[in-house]
Structures are given as structure tokens and as C-alpha cells.
Symmetry: C2
Subunit: 336 residues, 2 copies
Amino acid sequence: MAKRVTLAEVAAQAGVSPITVSRALRRPDTVQPDTRARIDAAVSALGYVPDPAARALATGRADVIGVLIPSATNAVFTDVLSGLYEELSETRFDVQYGITRYEPATEEKLLGVFLRQRPAGLIVAGIDQTPAARRLLERADCPVVQVMEIGPDPVDMMVGFSHHDAAAAATRHLIAQGYRCPGFLGARMDPRTQRRFAGFRAEAEAASRFEPERCETTETPSSVGVGAALLRALLARRPETDAVFCNNDDLAMGALFEAMRLGRTVPDQLGICGFNDLEMMHAAEPALTSVRTNRFEMGVEAARMIRARLEGRDPGPALVDLGARVQARRSTGGPC
Amino acid sequence: MAKRVTLAEVAAQAGVSPITVSRALRRPDTVQPDTRARIDAAVSALGYVPDPAARALATGRADVIGVLIPSATNAVFTDVLSGLYEELSETRFDVQYGITRYEPATEEKLLGVFLRQRPAGLIVAGIDQTPAARRLLERADCPVVQVMEIGPDPVDMMVGFSHHDAAAAATRHLIAQGYRCPGFLGARMDPRTQRRFAGFRAEAEAASRFEPERCETTETPSSVGVGAALLRALLARRPETDAVFCNNDDLAMGALFEAMRLGRTVPDQLGICGFNDLEMMHAAEPALTSVRTNRFEMGVEAARMIRARLEGRDPGPALVDLGARVQARRSTGGPC
DNA sequence: TCATCTAATGATAGCGCTGTCATCGTAGCC
DNA sequence: GGCTACGATGACAGCGCTATCATTAGATGA
């Protein structure tokens, strides 16, 4: 319906050749100011908007930044997206998402979908790509940023933090607060979760407080309800447990509710620590301790790095550790 | 890096002309089975993937379905997205998002961004587009679905439910449970929220139980913390309030925690009802009543309608009411 | 047997833009 | 004054695909 206005029509209106219009739009400093003025006038008079497909075909490069995340409903990832938006919304780049559903095969497939568009940049969550996916990323001739986590051997650039260390810090906090029988609650035991568990375990073992039977995990995706169920199972088997490090905040929230149901008071009869520090944690009663991670900033930083590379500026170090810190609240106030 | 394989190369390998390859891929039934077999073999031997930009340029139509939602971090919208994915992930269509941040101007701008790509379809959240945005949508020559809500005068198609009626049903439930002084908690009072408020008000007035001073609202975006603050303010001013209808589940959760802090027991001293029925509601202690909306199904249905139209099938009625129903739980068990 | 029709395939010409090189005019310099 | 250098603009071709029409071969019927 809305008739498409082409470059050529703008050029005719402005009395110049199409290529000059193209240049005026992309690198205004390369055309005479008065020419540019005429062109700008024609552009707005005709309501010209460039056709991204034509541009992509001509340049062999789309102004698209592809983002691969495991889930669109997990606040952890959507916070990163918000950061990306913040940095990218006023640029010529479009963001395009793919949801991997935590399935490596889907990630590979979506990577193919993105790659065929020759994206300007690629952002992928995590460091656990399949070998095939990794090869694709390495061959992609565009900037690539792995977000959420840091590890050895980045494909290209990396922004995140060590989940192992963050979990270890949380465990240290529990022990420092006087809890003697810490347990672990985990759902969807993917590699990232495993590394958090490893951090818990390492620290608990260092304090001689590790007990495998106090680790309750499931392959089920995480949720508040699952957190409640896990705590119930854990306490049934190991009633001596006096604190739980939960793999994420949903589980922690579920654990809190379950503790209420069981009549176990928090924090004196049970310490609870979550992971991610979603907004609800501080508002809970008692307020829940969690590990604060800088998700929004990860998005901003990843976008910034990609932009810097694309615009020929120095993107700075290829590996950025945004850290994580324990946000201590009442739920880990210590045993009675 | 990864060298691009073109249609022409596949054609050469298969010993046919490029156009035949194009046909074999798009409408396999129009080429001889053995020709098709040779082409398929060549495609996989060479690892050919079509270039979406070239296709878009040649057809004047991109295989993109644009989605405009207010927020990427609000579970309400991401659930719709999941539904879209479910229906679209095995098709040739890509989903592309725009986040409007609840700003009509941003919505207009993003609509322009999408439109210039000549998308195959467009999905927008809500029915509160600006006149300009509405005009753009009407002129877009592609299927358009408004989701999340239904109302008079759809741009094209619509899938959702009446927020007014859903809120009224929740209010009716509170009154039926015996609560006599119902209040309202609302954050980010956008038009959709206003309609929920109107539903609450209409029903409360019908029962002669409406009291403006028992309505506590803020322009601040919603969160668990805000829910707690609103309840505190409400109860300070109107201690007789014996139930709250919360505009969404975050507020309800915050209200629950605040009630705990204030020593006000739920449900006998205070009934709490949320809206959306996020997973956490059923896991809370006490479990929280909420209004269940079919967000995932909305996504599925919207995508289905668009596909039907694009594939020349009958999309069925243009306005689909997916309804909403009160999921009663312990938090509205009735006053003491 | 020959005209007529249909199914399968091909040739051609763009879609709207930009990379590359060519052209033109003018300023600057010896 | 004639030369180079350079900034501004333009001509041309082509990115990879598909719409359109043309062509071919085989099937059908009188």
C-alpha cells in the first residue's frame, strides 16, 4: 500500500545522481553542504526510508546484531537484553533474538539462521557452545561476544563473571554467618548451574562442611514451586540442614515459602541465599540474601564492545569481568 | 570467511537452471521428483542456505514477523513471545522484536523500522496505539494482530481478553468471599491498567463497596517492592481495608510480604488477589489467588492467524477472546 | 497422423542499493 | 602557465534471488 520511495526518486528530486544520495546518507561529510541540504530536503519531502534488504544485498552485510539466549522468560536474560537495547536503540543496528531453550542443537540451528544474514555482530549467552557451534562462531566474520559468564578461551570477546567464584563467595558468606550444615538446591542442572554447584562444593569442602546428601537437585526447569519441593525433600532427608544456597532466586523464594509452611523460621532455623538478586529478593519477608550480578551492565558492555569494533575504535580488553557480589540480607542473619 | 554458496552454484552442480533450484526449494511439487532429488543432493553437498536479503529484495517482502511489546522483562509479554515461538520456530519466518518501553512515541518509531522491511506480519501488544501508529498499521499491507487485549475496532485481527471484565470477576470473587472493604493497588497506570481499575470499580460500586480512598496507585513501574509500599500506604490511611485487588502479581506478592511485616494475617485479616497468575502465585504461603490469563496461547493463536492468512487459509474469526478466569487460592479464603 | 493442450524447465530482466573506478573542476605549486 | 593533487560527483556493474513470460517435450484426442 504505502508506496516505496527509492533512492533514485530522491536523487531526481534533488537533481543529483543516486549514488550521491547514498553517500549523503551514509557519510554526510563527503558531499558538499548545499548538495546535502538539497538531498535532505528531498528525503523528507518524499518520506524516503532506505530498504534494509537492498542495502544488505549490496553490502553483503546486514545491520543486525543477533542475540542467542536460552530463554525469553527468564529475567536473567531479559535484563541483559534491556542493556543491549539501552546501548543500541539509537544506532542503525537492529537486534534480533533467538531462543535456544537451553538446547545446544537449537543454538546451532539458530546460529545458522543468523549467520546467513551476515549479521554485524553476534551475542551468545554462556560459554557452553557445542564444538560445531563454536566453529561457526569462530568463522563468523563479525564481532562475537559471549555474555553472562567468563571462562578460558573466548571465541572473540567475553563479558560476564565467574559463576564458580560467585557461588563460592555466597557459600563463604553462609559459613561466616555461622551456619554449619549448608545444603544446595539446584534445578535444570546445565553446565552453568554445575559450575555454581562446583563453587559451592569447593568452598563447603574447604570448610569441611560439605555433605553430598545435602544437595538436592533436579533436571526440571527452575521455578518457585520447584524450590519449595526441593527444600521439602532436602529437609525430609537431612533435617540438620541449617542453610541452603539456592541456584537461583526462584528456588530461594520457593524455599522461603516452604520453610514457612514447615514452621521453620528464617534465618535462625534456616538460612537462605539465592542467586541473581532479582528485585523481589529485597522486598521479601524476611528479605532474602542473594548474589548480585550485573546483568544490565553486561548487555550494555557487550553492545559497546561490538559497536567499538564495528566503528573501528578500540573495544578495550577482550575479556571483561563484571564480577558479582553477595548482597547480604536478613535471610542469612545466622542460626539461633 | 565462510564462503557463500549461491543458487547458481547449486544449479550448476545439479545440472539445472537457477530458477529451477529456486522453485524446487519453494514449491517442491512443481518440479519433477528426480530433478528435485538431484537438487536436494546438491544443496546439502554444498551446504547451500538462501540469502534472506536477496529474497526480500526480489519479492519485496521479508520473511519477518515483527513484534512490538512494551517490555522484555515483564513475564506477561515474554510468555506471549514463547507462544509465538512455539508456533513459528519450524517455519520460514523469523521473529523480530521491538521494545516500546510503554512509550507511544517509541512504538511509532519501531513500527517505522519494521515497516520498512515489509514484514510478513506484525504483532502489537495492546489496543492503545497512537492515531499515527494506528494509521501506519492500517496501511501496512500485511496481517496485523493486536494481542493481550480485546476491544472494539480492531486494526485487523485481535487476540486477548477483556481486562475490565477480568478485573470485575476478581472483584466479584473478593466480595463473594465475604470481604467488605476491598481496596485496589496499581502501579504504572497505563490505559490497560486503567481498564482493570475500571473493572474493579464498576464491580465494587455495584456492590456498594467502592471507596476511592482505598485505591492506592503510583506511576512507578510495578515491582514487588512497590506492592509492599502501596499496601503499607493504603493500610495506614484506611486500616479497615480487608482485601486488595492488585493490578498484577508482583504487587500482590509485595502486599503479601508487607502484610507479614505488619502482622496482618492472610487471608483472614487481609485478602489478596493478583493478576496474571504467574507461577510463583501457587507456590506462595499462603498460595495467592490470581486471575489466570492465557498468555502463551495468545502467542500461539496470533501466530496461527498470521500464518493462516499468509498461506491463504481461513484465519477464522478476526477477534478471538481467550478469556481469563479467577484462580482462587488460600489468600482470598475469606475474612475471619 | 497432426493439432492441441499441459507439465516441466529455462531465459531475461529486474528488485534498490553500494563498491569501484572514472571524470570533472579547481586550488595549489613550481 | 602548465602541472599535479584532491575533493566532489557520476557511470557502471552487480549483490542473490524471483516474477514473468517463453520454450520444450510429451500426452491426448479426432
